[in-house]
């Protein structure tokens, strides 16, 4: 964690997820031991729980439910995991949230799209690539093809939502 904590949240909001990836890498083993001791979870289940909890954390940062970096991040994440277990949320399902319905629907439909469409939309809307760079990444002949492709995918997603 080289960046100051406040900056980390901003980074996370604009799509830099390295901080969470690092956290997972660093804490997986300890978390798994904790989960086994406290909740008798098998290692694989514990790993899944930590992944889901970090996704929850990301969602809450992204939609503004978390605006300030917790002082003790480790305790905060462990607390979230405990809540998840207490509420008996099944694995790989995000926590219910106020806005969740609309977004979850969109996420479900997004996952229905083909792999290429998901990639194109991720490059454009999440990574913020311009059409030229996206074309290069996807192997399209030029930026216009990339633009048309992205447009077609966005429409397809919208039609699925309707």
């Amino acid at each position: 964690m080289s960046a100051p904590l406040a900056e980390t949240l901003t980074q996370l909001r604009v799509g830099n997820q390295k901080f969470l990836i690092d956290f997972y890498q660093r804490s997986r083993h300890l978390f798994s031991r904790w989960a086994q001791r406290q909740h008798r979870l098998a290692p694989a289940q514990a790993h899944g729980l930590l992944q889901d909890t970090l996704l929850d954390f990301y969602d809450q940062v992204a939609d503004g439910r978390i605006t300030k970096m917790p002082d003790d991040l480790r305790a905060f994440i462990y607390g979230m995991a405990q809540q998840r277990l207490a509420a008996q949320v099944p694995a790989h399902v995000p926590l219910p949230a106020a806005e969740a319905g609309r977004r979850q629907r969109l996420l479900a439909q997004f996952n229905q799209l083909g792999a290429d469409c998901q990639q194109v939309l991720t490059y454009f809307y999440f990574r913020g690539y311009h059409f030229e760079k996206m074309g290069g990444k996807m192997g399209f002949p030029n930026a216009t093809v990339a633009r048309l492709q992205k447009s077609a995918c966005l429409r397809k997603l919208y039609e699925l939502l309707k």
């Binding site: 990836i21 997004f110 939309l121 991720t122 809307y125 919208y158």
Partner: protein
């Protein structure tokens, strides 16, 4: 699924324009005109807001999915690494165990070889030498002096060959010596000695026995008894060998008494 969500404006009629506007694909003039319409047309403004919400949600969904996939990939990598490390650890342990076993076996083998080498090479008082040669005290015969050489040249030649180890030649030379000039006993004795040294214990016995039988008290007889005993021994006839050597050991005048005593005391002859 959508009862809770408020009715949303249909974006389809405006999709092209909204997308071009949002993606910065309009010319400045088009953009200005579109912004003006946004202020005036309520439907378009609603559609724009809905479009913005859609793309914001999409940004979130794409980020969420990316994080999910990245965490999954990392998890798999960490699992693989854990498995690989465990395998390496297991291999190391197995190799270490194998080396320990091999080392122990090697050490045991070395110890066994060392023990065997010590056992077979030790000068053991508990296991006296079994060979007759270990106890035999040879008789070199009389010294060849110039006087002897002059008086009995053939005998001197035979003695010389015997003393230098040429036994067949010595026997041959001895055959040419006349018994009248030397004495029958001496010839028999020497022949027996040479045959004994040549390893023909059986043949040696014949001559030595004749010497020892003839005159029981002479010096030559005493010597012959000792060599006869040794000849028996060499021919593996241990009982007569023991009898002869015991007699020699008991005879205080016999020059070979000490040697015979040693052979009897070793107890090798009583073994069988």
């Amino acid at each position: 699924m959508s009862p809770q969500t408020p009715p949303r404006p249909d974006l389809r009629p405006y999709f092209d324009e909204l997308e071009r506007f949002a993606d910065g694909q309009m010319t400045p003039a088009e953009q200005e005109a579109f912004e003006l319409r946004l202020e005036q047309e309520e439907d378009l403004a609603d559609a724009h807001a809905a479009y913005e919400q859609l793309t914001a949600d999409l940004r979130w969904a794409a980020g969420h999915d990316t994080l999910r996939l990245r965490l999954q990939a990392l998890d798999e990598r960490m699992n693989e690494r854990g498995t690989a490390l465990a395998r390496v650890e297991q291999l190391n342990q197995r190799r270490q165990r194998r080396w320990t076993v091999l080392g122990t076996l090697g050490a045991l083998l070395l110890l066994a070889v060392g023990a065997a080498a010590w056992y077979f090479t030790r000068p053991s008082p508990a296991r006296p030498a079994r060979s007759w040669e270990a106890y035999y005290q040879p008789d070199p015969g009389p010294v060849v002096t110039p006087a002897l050489l002059h008086a009995r040249p053939l005998l001197s030649e035979a003695l010389d060959q015997y003393q230098s180890g040429h036994y067949p030649a010595a026997l041959h030379s001895l055959g040419r010596v006349s018994p009248t000039s030397v004495g029958n006993d001496t010839l028999l004795y020497l022949r027996g000695l040479i045959l004994l040294r040549q390893g023909q214990g059986n043949a040696a016995q014949l001559y030595l026995r004749r010497v020892s039988d003839e005159n029981a008290t002479s010096e030559l007889t005493r010597r012959a008894r000792y060599h006869l005993g040794m000849a028996y021994w060499q021919a593996k006839e241990l009982a007569p060998a023991l009898t002869e050597l015991r007699a020699v050991a008991a005879d205080s005048l016999n020059p070979y008494r000490a040697s015979a005593r040693r052979a009897v005391a070793a107890g090798v002859l009583e073994g069988k």
